[in-house]
């Protein structure tokens, strides 16, 4: 069952190539602040641009060594033609690096459509008004690109599909509260990642089938130390497998490619664009946004809810916003007597081997 998710993810570029042959349009988006619902309502399949463990060769001519491995790997994949099937890319203002990526992609990779959402950071009403206008602009640009109107009904339908998807992920996530969670950390995050590159209707069916199956399955992960992983994105779920191999299990997360993506649903409203703007502006924050304390308060709450015994922070080297918050997070966890391990990733093949001894020592320390 998990193998299906794995396979779809591994073959994602071939699958997308096939969509193109079937006459479909495909857009890439760079993070969880891009309203996929709108892209999907325009009849375009949105896929998240993610890095890879391939050795970077072409991106070095465009990016200094102090740019994070994620941006570097994505660009390298783009330059190598891996994303040639994309008809467009959409980027939202989150980190400065992602924002500046747009121009480097636009200059060096042939992409017919690009759009940037100048998203605000704050969660005030005035910020939500502003994001509403940003989304209206995106809607017009998409309409112009496809030559077709995007009516409110199609946006509402899209919102419903995405809400279902996020709801199903929340239900699976909820199952991880159990003593012996039916899904291991590495399995769960594989499932989430597959969702980034699979049309949501198809993905929802996969999730529903999985949920039904899990209800009757024997739980896995017996007797393992319950852990939370915090960070942004990392390419290699093998890191999570390694954690399992040495006696831990990731039962909760504070990740850009995890619960921060699916936690919040869109509340229906008469104006679907406004509903989306409210959802994206009020969703659990990325450290790029201000104020970002709420993320850390929720992290502490979730440690309790999921009976987490220790937190492992996996931070992308050179990720300024996460790095700025690290000492505060460390102090907050210490104050709450929560054991904490900090790992800095550069997304290199085999990196999990270097982390292994540190994770082992961390688990031993917790006894």
């Amino acid at each position: 069952m998990i193998a299906d998710f794995q396979e779809k993810y591994s073959n994602r570029h071939q699958i997308a190539g096939q969509w193109k042959k079937d006459g479909k349009k495909v857009f890439g988006y760079f993070c969880g602040y891009v309203p996929e619902e709108l892209i999907s309502a325009a009849g375009i399949i949105p896929v998240r641009v993610l890095g890879s463990l391939d050795t970077v060769s072409l991106a070095d001519a465009h990016l200094q060594t102090f740019i994070c491995a994620f941006a570097r790997s994505c660009l390298d994949q783009g330059l190598k033609g891996v994303y040639d099937y994309l008809d467009g890319i959409v980027i939202s203002k989150t980190c400065d690096i992602t924002r500046k990526m747009l121009g480097i992609w636009a200059k060096n990779i042939n992409i017919p459509f690009t759009a940037f959402i100048g998203a605000p950071s704050k969660r005030t009403e005035s910020a939500r008004d502003c994001l509403t206008e940003e989304f209206r602009d995106l809607r017009s640009k998409l309409e112009e690109f496809t030559g077709k109107k995007i009516d409110d009904d199609s946006i509402n339908r899209s919102i419903e599909i995405y809400n279902n998807s996020r709801q199903l992920l929340n239900e699976l996530y909820e199952m991880k509260k159990a003593d012996n969670p039916p899904l291991s950390g590495s399995e769960f995050y594989q499932i989430v990642k597959t969702g980034f590159v699979t049309p949501k209707e198809e993905y929802n069916e996969m999730l529903s089938a999985l949920k039904a199956k899990l209800a009757s399955s024997k739980p896995s992960g017996d007797g393992k130390v319950r852990l939370m992983v915090s960070g942004s994105t990392f390419e290699d779920v093998n890191v999570l497998k390694m954690i399992e191999d040495v006696g831990g299990n990731v039962v909760a997360d504070d990740l850009c490619i995890g619960s921060r993506y699916f936690r919040d649903l869109t509340q229906p409203a008469s104006d679907p664009i406004r509903a989306l703007a409210d959802r994206y502006q009020m969703r659990i924050t990325c450290p790029c946004k201000h104020p970002s304390d709420e993320r850390l308060y929720r992290l502490i709450e979730e440690v309790k809810e999921y009976r987490v015994q220790g937190v492992i922070s996996i931070v992308q080297k050179y990720c300024d916003t996460h790095l700025f918050e690290y000492p505060y997070m460390r102090d907050m966890l210490q104050k709450n007597d929560i054991p904490f391990l900090y790992l800095e990733t550069e997304d290199r093949m085999g990196e999990e081997g270097q982390f292994k001894t540190r994770v082992q020592a961390f688990l031993e320390m917790m006894g």
Binding site: A61, H62, L63, Q64, F66, I67, K93, C95, D96, I97, R99, K100, L102, G103, I104, A106, K107, N108, F116, G118, A119, P120, S121, K122, S126, A127, D129, C130, L131, E133, E134, D137, P287, C288, H290, P291, S292, K317, Y318, D320, T321, L323, F324, E325, Y326, P327, Y328, R330
Partner: protein
């Protein structure tokens, strides 16, 4: 900004005045603090005009960092911040600021900056500023207002983006009123905006006078004279200073007095100076290379439509071409500067502390070369932390650019 003592800076009558302005400013900050008047810490490109209009004394940890660096204190401060758990990969302006606070040390009277009563940040120049100010707010336990921006890239700023910023400027006024106890007065605000706009206009005129061949002003004079533009925007003294500076440079330009005796190659500089080694400019000048254009100094200015005070100020801050441009528009902007300032070569300072500003330099350099045939060179350092600086490597890079330029003459 330490080079006021150098022979080059003393070339100008206004150089002494700059020193006096700086000294008065920091002396006043201590007096203000002692009298328990309100002090705010601001990020650069923050609307300081609101502080001046409300009699709140503004201090700038970033500008302060450049001075710590010039006095060779930054390495110690950054190391102290790292010992507290901040990554050495973070911006050294921020690390310098944390270290100075933890050690309570600094270039003025041996102590750190006077403590803030309130904190004001923008994040459209870079996100790190808001994150840095959040750390300060927790450390000092004082109120923080972040002026957020919905910012485009390579597109025109929209009316709703201006509105969002302007709405927050009004909120900022209420915030500063609340935490200072002072009352906002629109006429006073407009007067401050007038001075700020005028200072910026005058400074840009000086920057433009560098189109004259040979250039009438050195890059060190430009970069050190940015100080009032950043910290004193909206003060009458600052505007008067820029008028004198403009007049002095204009007279030199008219008489074609060269700022550097043997100007051979005219250079465009991107972006930050190396604050602990402004002598790099002299090194280039010895070889006939004079920086005649940059986008750093003027990035702090911009005109203000005073008839719409809040929207006008918002436009000035948000519609800043440096902050709203990615590789495509920056390449066009630089190409325009190359033509207008008769530039022979471009020097890029890839600053490991400012990923945001440095990202894209490789593509921009290539773009300028492909379209105009003007060569460039990129060297990498940190702008205030000298710990990884290699003088030899930097000079090698500059030398190879001069070799190319020499071969073309």
């Amino acid at each position: 900004m330490s080079e006021k003592k150098s022979a080059k800076a003393k070339r100008l009558k206004t150089a002494g005045k700059l020193g006096k302005l700086m000294e008065d400013y920091y002396t006043e900050s201590a007096v203000v603090k002692a009298e328990k008047k309100p002090v705010a810490w601001l990020t650069s490109v923050a609307p300081v005009e609101v502080c001046y209009a409300l009699d709140v004394f503004p201090l700038y940890p970033e500008n302060y960092a450049t001075m710590c660096s010039a006095r060779k204190l930054s390495a110690e401060f950054c190391a102290e911040a790292e010992a507290k758990g901040f990554s050495p990969d973070l911006c050294s302006y921020a690390l310098n600021s944390f270290g100075s606070i933890y050690l309570d040390k600094g270039p003025f009277m041996g102590k750190g900056l006077p403590e803030p009563d309130m904190l004001i940040a923008t994040e459209h120049a870079c996100l790190s500023m808001a994150k840095w100010w959040e750390v300060l707010a927790r450390h000092y336990n004082v109120p923080l207002y972040v002026v957020d921006a919905a910012l485009p890239i390579d597109e025109e700023v929209t009316s709703y983006q201006v509105k969002y910023f302007a709405d927050q400027l009004r909120e900022l006024v209420a915030f500063v009123e609340e935490h200072s106890g002072n009352k906002f007065d629109m006429d006073r605000f407009k007067e401050v905006l007038g001075y700020s706009d005028e200072a910026s206009k005058l400074f840009t005129e000086v920057a433009d006078l560098r189109k004259t061949i040979p250039s009438p002003v050195t890059p060190v004079e430009i970069f050190t004279n940015m100080f009032p533009l950043v910290t004193l925007a909206g003060k009458r003294e600052s505007t008067e200073f820029y008028r004198e500076f403009r007049d002095e440079i204009k007279a030199l330009a008219e008489k074609k007095v060269p700022a550097v005796p043997n100007e051979k190659y005219r250079l465009l500089w991107d972006l930050f100076p190396v604050w602990y080694n402004l002598r790099l400019f002299s090194y280039m000048e010895e070889k006939g290379g004079v920086v005649v254009a940059d986008v750093y100094a003027t990035a702090f200015g911009g005109r203000i439509d005073i008839s719409r005070p809040f929207e006008g100020l918002a436009e000035r801050y948000v519609a800043n071409p440096i902050l709203t441009s990615g590789v495509p528009n920056l390449t066009e902007l630089y190409k325009r500067l190359v033509k207008e300032f008769s530039v022979d070569g471009v020097v890029f300072h890839s600053n490991r502390s400012c990923r945001m500003a440095s990202m894209g330099q490789y593509d921009i350099k290539q773009g300028i070369f492909d379209d105009l045939g003007v060569p460039g060179a990129i060297f990498e350092t940190d702008f205030i932390d000298p710990r990884t600086y290699s003088d030899e490597q930097v000079k090698d890079t500059l030398d190879s650019l001069f070799e190319i330029l020499e071969a073309r003459k």
